[in-house]
Symmetry: C2
Subunit: 184 residues, 2 copies
């Protein structure tokens, strides 16, 4: 349980283990030679971070929460001991890491797309449900815009544009893509 502005750990601190964010956000921050802050990563609720702490004696950045946050710690020694005793647990953890890599790569590819319309399309295409055409929206559009790295205005306009061209249909909390057969 951390108050806004509080640090979970600082650069150089001995590593404790893997953390999971239950509520709020954490920023991994490094300070460069000229004293400027460089944000390495901003983690949100539901994510685990400091995986690399398992393999390093000290932290290589600061972890600060601006929003306040609740964090759960999985102690390093217990995890490693469990992995040694139980190869299945080790495999499961590897699977978690591998999935994170995939999702991060997809996100990078997404950020490579400059056009707001194309970026929205990219997101929609990768987040369709089982029917391959329906995307359920989890939160509000402002949050989605942040996730896509767009201003909410740009996202509204992009979606309006896609809808105008008939590529999508918008509903309360879902978006349906027009597929090849144009069934929708």
């Amino acid at each position: 349980m951390l108050a806004p502005g509080q640090a979970l750990f600082r650069l150089g601190d001995p590593t404790a283990g893997v953390h999971e964010i239950l509520r709020g956000q954490m920023q991994m921050v490094r300070v460069d030679a000229s004293g400027r802050e460089v944000v390495l990563y901003a983690a949100v609720a539901g994510e685990i971070f400091t995986e690399a702490a398992l393999f390093s004696p000290i932290y290589h950045c600061d972890a600060i929460t601006r929003t306040g946050a609740t964090v759960r710690l999985y102690p390093k020694d217990k995890l490693l001991a469990e992995f040694r005793r139980n190869p299945q647990a080790a495999e499961a953890f590897m699977a978690i890491l591998a999935r994170q890599i995939m999702s991060l790569r997809t996100r990078i590819e997404q950020r490579n797309i400059r056009s707001a319309g194309d970026r929205a399309r990219h997101f929609l295409a990768l987040n369709t449900g089982t029917d391959g055409r329906t995307v359920l929206l989890r939160g509000n559009l402002k949050d989605l815009a942040a996730e896509l790295g767009l201003t909410h205005e740009a996202l509204y306009r992009a979606l309006a544009g896609l809808a105008a061209k008939g590529e999508i249909k918008r509903f309360k909390n879902k978006i349906v893509l027009r597929d090849k057969a144009q069934l929708m």
Copy 2:
């Protein structure tokens, strides 16, 4: 050894194992409901990919090389067997995955920065050598621009701007940051 345009595997193929790129580039591609290609990730020489293949029976995307590529396969069953037998090997692989996650996160944060100058600064701040001020440039600036997701023109201008403001000094194959004491 793959020819340009050749596919290493296709969506739905049974997974073989983890691949390392020795030469060239591979693109992970998925095709969306409307038949459009969506690039999940572009991997370059030196990287490993399909880590997640260890934990899935089939591939969830196509792997295609446009440039042609040489790829080494680490067979899935051998890797998993080795991990079960040898917890140290498992730990080492986890460490590789964890490091990749860190580097991907840093890259995402980099791509969140819109200003070319800020993005260059971010890169420089995170790539200083032991003295905390000197960045050795591995390749040419065009390649660096591509790595940063900028056009080479934009990067040239950004560096020129930083140099004009005295934040950096440019040399043949290195860039030196001005630190707080302005020693340079």
